[in-house]
Amino acid sequence: MKKLVALFLTLSLMVVTLAGCSTGTEESSTSGSTSGESNTSAQTDGKTITLGLTAPITGTHAEYGVGFQAAVEIAMDEINNAGGVNGYNLAVEVMDSKGEPKETSDIVRQFAENDNIQAIIGDFTSSCSMAAAPIVDEAGIVLLSPTASNPDYPGMSDYTFTVMNNQSTEAPWFARAVVGQYIGAKSVAVMWLNTDWGIATHQYLLQGFEEAGITVVADESYAENETDFSSVISKLKSTDPECVVILDQGNVPTVINQIRGTGWDVQLATLGPGSSEQLIQLCGENAEGLIVDTPSFLTPENEEAVPFIDAFKEKTGYAPTDHSLCAYNSVYLLAESIKAIGDGEITREAIKDNLKTAQMDGLAGHVEFNEEGGCSRELLILQVENGKYVVKEDYGYGVE
């Protein structure tokens, strides 16, 4: 009997461990199968270009990592079904960085050593992407991050690119246009996440407040794995600001819930999560009145966005945010770059050279890279009303 129990436990252990592995590293089967179908219909001769994707499939930022994977697969399916790029099909190899820079470096090194991988998409956070920058620089392979918005990142190497707005333009705009002009606050308290992204954004935000003549009455940072914000909140509360700005992504819902939990009814604005659907789910009534900014707004009312939203919801079960759209655009930009190579040989170097001039018009408006490999986009202001995001100000608000 004891032996049987031991055997059962060992087996279940093995099964679970194997299952764990399969979520960690998985080769996307969808793009593989669709590429098989389109082989017959289009003029492709079965050649495949494989891109690497490093994203936080598990961990604090899992919502976004899973979104990356889904968005990349959707974009590849679309491209492959339309006949591929220059006779090539696209495929992706996904690896889970768990949102940790050391994992990203390992993954990027593995991709760089794998001759089948022509370019890398990822990672989600600036910290992860910046950790990988020296590696891609040495290996000579493109690292196109959909969302890294630390202003230092794109300039770190010729091979580093990002589709997300640079915080050096977004944060000062947020301070001046959103907090100063739209909310009309004279005093503000800032809570910020102590990471590469947070430090850089925070610095630009403070500059913005200073230029706009807004007083920062409290300025508090916290570590990334923080769960209890009550002491920070008490601290902010004691300074009685007109508006609280939260600089974070994954922790925003927890922070908002805890602020409302202390019975504090202050105007909240957040820079980072964009129009995240999960935020409203996690905050419920607590999210009412929250102000966010976002470079693109994906709702069913926007007809162009419907196919993408539907496909995304089918894969993940929740609605996409701008972050996922950026991952989707990353694939198209790489496809543009491959297209521009034309009949030439597809090499990592050629992809990099052509990516610099690649551009596209899509759901997020016009996207092209600046000299460093960064991006700058106009933004929308949204507010939560009755459990939904409502567009309050259109593109171009508060532009000087």
Partner: protein, 291 residues
Amino acid sequence: MEYIINQFVNGICQGFIYALMAVGYSVIVGVVGFVTFTHGEVIVFGAFASFYIFLLCGNNLLLGVIGSFAASWLIGIFVYKICYERFFHAPRHIALICTIGVSMLLKNIAQIIFGPNKKPMLNIIKNKIYSFGIVEISKVQIVIILTVIILSALLFIIFMKTRWGISLRAVSQDKTAAAMMGINVKQTAMIGNCMGSGLAGVAGLLIAINYQTVYATMGSNLSIKAFAAAVLGGLTSVPLAALGGILIGIIENMGITFTSASLRDIFTFVFLIIILIFKPQGFSKKKGVRP
């Protein structure tokens, strides 16, 4: 002044949660005799059990507490069977490494079963703020403190007044002697492990209610705090571990009051190190830890 007092209240509330985790921890270490690293994951399973109970049966706190206790009890059996049962006579580090492995396993199982996303636990207790003069305390904080006090009292009664408690204390003091007195040591050790895990599960429930969110990876940080609090109490003393937990909560929050929240963990561990330099046995009078 008002602000400092409110920070103190925050600290006490957080300290009570740490205390409950630490109490569970020291029961496990005391009765089983091994250090565990699965505590954080047990906390997560307890929190998720209550999440599903609240989802299915409505916001019944008592049911939630029982459910999270029971779920963590089961995880406790699993951990005991894998990590401890066969290693009582093996070198101590084997069980320790085994718990580290099981902790990774449980964390990944939790992500597979519950998904990687955060889940909301909104308004389990209708929130209300009570003011006593300049002190403000929320209903959630009162519920947390009361739950911890009631559970600790129950644990004390079980330990001191029941046959089970006598066996548990006997096993905790000397396994060989307890076996000679006719106590089933393995079974008693398992019950001790399960009780400690159950308390951790309830701590998970309280954390989830306090933060209004629950997610699969929230355990690792908490496990270290529970460990620190238990070490302060000398690892095996239940009341001193509770004291350690409350002190850590207060010191963290007072530290944040005067500096930054980024330094939260620094306060905990610097405090731990200072205490250990001057009193290596923690707050307990005993020198060293029983084998």
